[in-house]
Symmetry: C2
Subunit: 350 residues, 2 copies
C-alpha cells in the first residue's frame, strides 16, 4: 500500500462495530478511505466515523476493491465465507470471530504481547482473540515475560454484552421485571417472572449468575472455556500450558472480570509483580483494598486498559499469584484490539 491505507469495517452496525467506529474516531487518524460494510439488511444506513456520516454498503466481493485492511466483526459463518474473499482481493483481514483463531496459518495477535506474530500470515488473515482471553492476556503476557508462566486457573464474571445487543436488551428487560419486587428469595421465582424471555442465555441473568457461555464441547467443557485455554496457549507461545477455566455470566452490562491464579517457574514477589503490572503498556494497577481501591466493572467500562487489582502471593505457594482483572469486553476485548492490529499492519507497510 502507498499513502494512507484504505480500511473496511465489516459488521459496522453491530455492538462491537459501533464501538469500533468510536475508537477509529478517537485514535490518531492514519487512514485514507474508511468503508463501512454490513449485511444487506443494514445497507444504506449512515453512521458517523471521524466526524463524518458514511453510508453503509452491503457485503459483496466488490466492496473490497482497493481495500488494504479489512476489519471483520461478524458471526463465525459469515467470517468463514467472506474473510477469504477479502484476502483474495488483496486486503489483509483482521478477524474478530472464532473461525480462524486456532488455524496454524493464521496468527492470533495481541499487539502488546506478540506483535511479531502478525508478520507471518500466509492466508492473509490475522485473528483477534476472544474477549475473555483478552481481559487477562496483556497483564499475563507481561508477568510471563518476567516470571515464566507454568499454570493458570481462571474464573470469569462475564458481562451480557459479550452476547451482543441481544444480551444487553435481555438484561435490561429482566431488570425492569425484578426491580421493586421481592424476587430472588424462593426457588424459581425469578425464572417464573422472566418466563421464556432469557434471550441468548440459558437461564435468567438478572439477580442470578449463570455458569455457562457458548456451546457444549467434549467432557462437559463449554466452547468459551476452551477458547480461553487454547487462545492463551497460542498467544503466549506455550502450547502445553495447563489452563483450567470456568466461565460464568453475571448481570453486568459491559466489562468482563476474571479471577486468575497464576503459577510461575520460581518464587515471585508481590512487589515485583506490582511493578511489572504498573509499568506494562495497556495495563493499570489499581490495588489498595484498605483504601477501597480495586477495579470493578462499574468503573472500568468505557476505558481502554486492563485493570488489575487484588494482587496477592498465594499464601501456601511462593510461586503463585492471585489477581482480579477487569477489561471492557467491547473495547480491548474486541474493537480496540482489532484497531490496534490494523495500526500494526499499517505501520509495517510503511
Amino acid at each position: 500500500m502507498t499513502g494512507r491505507p484504505t480500511l473496511a469495517v465489516v459488521g459496522a452496525t453491530g455492538a462491537v462495530g459501533t464501538v469500533l467506529l468510536q475508537i477509529l474516531s478517537q485514535r490518531a487518524d492514519i487512514w485514507g478511505d474508511i468503508r463501512l460494510v454490513a449485511s444487506p439488511r443494514s445497507a444504506g444506513r449512515k453512521l458517523a466515523v471521524r466526524g463524518e456520516e458514511v453510508e453503509v454498503a452491503a457485503l459483496s466481493e466488490e466492496v473490497f476493491d482497493g481495500v488494504d485492511i479489512a476489519l471483520f466483526d461478524v458471526p463465525d459463518e459469515v467470517a468463514a465465507q467472506w474473510a477469504p474473499v477479502a484476502a483474495a482481493k488483496g486486503a489483509v483481514v483482521v478477524d474478530n470471530s472464532g473461525t480462524f483463531r486456532m488455524d496454524p496459518d493464521v496468527p492470533l495477535v495481541v499487539p502488546e504481547v506478540n506483535p511479531h506474530a502478525a508478520r507471518r500470515r500466509p492466508r492473509g488473515i490475522v485473528s483477534s482473540p476472544n474477549c475473555t482471553t483478552l481481559t487477562m492476556i496483556v497483564a499475563l503476557g507481561a508477568l510471563h515475560a518476567e516470571f515464566g508462566l507454568r499454570e493458570l486457573v481462571v474464573s470469569s464474571y462475564q458481562a451480557v454484552s459479550g452476547a451482543g445487543r441481544a444480551g444487553v436488551d435481555t438484561l435490561r428487560r429482566q431488570l425492569s421485571l425484578v426491580a421493586g419486587t421481592e424476587l430472588g428469595t424462593s426457588p424459581g421465582d425469578v425464572r417464573r417472572a422472566v418466563g421464556d424471555d432469557t434471550g441468548p442465555f440459558p437461564e435468567p441473568v438478572a439477580l442470578n449468575v449463570v455458569p455457562w457461555a457458548g456451546s457444549p464441547r467434549d467432557e462437559g467443557w463449554s466452547s468459551e472455556e476452551m477458547k480461553v485455554r487454547d487462545e492463551s496457549r497460542k498467544i503466549l507461545g506455550l502450547p502445553q500450558l495447563p489452563v483450567a477455566v470456568t466461565c460464568v455470566r453475571v448481570p453486568v452490562v459491559t466489562t468482563h472480570s476474571l479471577t486468575v491464579h497464576a503459577r510461575f517457574e520460581g518464587e515471585v514477589t508481590v512487589d515485583k509483580a506490582r511493578e511489572i503490572i504498573a509499568t506494562a503498556p495497556g495495563v493499570v494497577l489499581y490495588d489498595d483494598p484498605a483504601a477501597g481501591e480495586f477495579p470493578t466493572p462499574a468503573d472500568v467500562v468505557g476505558t481502554d486498559p486492563t485493570w488489575v487489582g487484588r494482587v496477592r502471593r498465594a499464601l501456601d505457594d511462593p510461586t503463585a499469584l492471585e489477581l482480579f482483572v477487569c477489561g471492557d469486553n467491547l473495547r480491548k476485548g474486541a474493537a480496540l484490539n482489532t484497531a490496534q492490529i490494523a495500526e500494526l499492519l499499517a505501520a509495517e507497510a510503511n
Copy 2:
C-alpha cells in the same frame, strides 16, 4: 438433659434468625421449650415458630436459665461477650459468628463432614463455619474422603444477603435506580446514580461485581478469604492444605456460588466424582449442560442442599476436578447448619 431439650435462639430477629425459625418449624420437632432472644431493641416482638407466636426476650444472663442448647447468630462482639455467659450457665452454645471458629478448644462442625468433632468442646461452645466455606465443604468433604484433597483454588460469587438485611435492602434500592436506564455503559455512571448509597458494600453492587468481602488482612487478603482457607483446613483436618481464594460480591439476593479447582492425591475420574457427589448426604448433582442443567442461584435459593454442576476433570491435570457449586447462604450457609449441629448435640445427649 432429660426429656426434650430446651433451645434458645439468640439473634432471632436477624436475617439468619428469621430463616432459622422457619427451619425449626419445618424439621422434625425434637425440642421442648424454644426461647427467642434478641437485643433489647427487639424484645417484646412476637415471632412464629412451630406454628406458635413466641415473645422475644431481651438478651440477659437469666434468659439462659435451664437452656440446654443455645444457637447464637449475632455480631462477633456480641458472641464474644455472651456465648461464654450461656456456656457458664450450662448451655451448649452453637455459635455462627467468626469469634470462636479458629479457637483450638472450639470445634468447627459440619454434621455431614466431621460430626465427631462436636464431642470435644472444652469451652462448651461449638462453632458453625462461615457461609462461603459451607457452600462447598459438604461436597468437598465427600470428594476428600475418596480421593484425598491436596489443593484448592476457589473463586466466589457471593450474594448480598451474606451482609444481612442491609445488604439485601441496598441491592433492592440500587436495582430500582438502574432499572429502565441505560446505565452501565460509561465509566462511573452507576456509581454516580447510586451516590453514597452503597450500604455495607464498598462499591455499587447493582450492574456490578465487587472483589471484596470483609475487612483487610495482611498482604492484601480479605477476612472472608482467610476464613474460607482457615476454616476449610480445620473442618477437613488438613492444617497444611494449600487454599487460594478470591471472594467477589455479585448482585444476587441469596445463594452463594463458587468455582472450585480441587487437586487430589492421584488420578480422578469424572464418573467416580459424579457418583460420590450424587450419593453424598446433603449434596445434589445437577450436571447436564447440553440439556441446560447446571445450578444457578435463581433455582437453588430456598433449598437445603449443596448443588454441584459443571463437573469436569482438568484437561491438563488428571488429578484435578473443576466444579461449580451453589448453596443458600442463609440455610445451609448459616441457619440450617446450626440447627443440624443442635440436633447432633441433642441426639448425643439421649
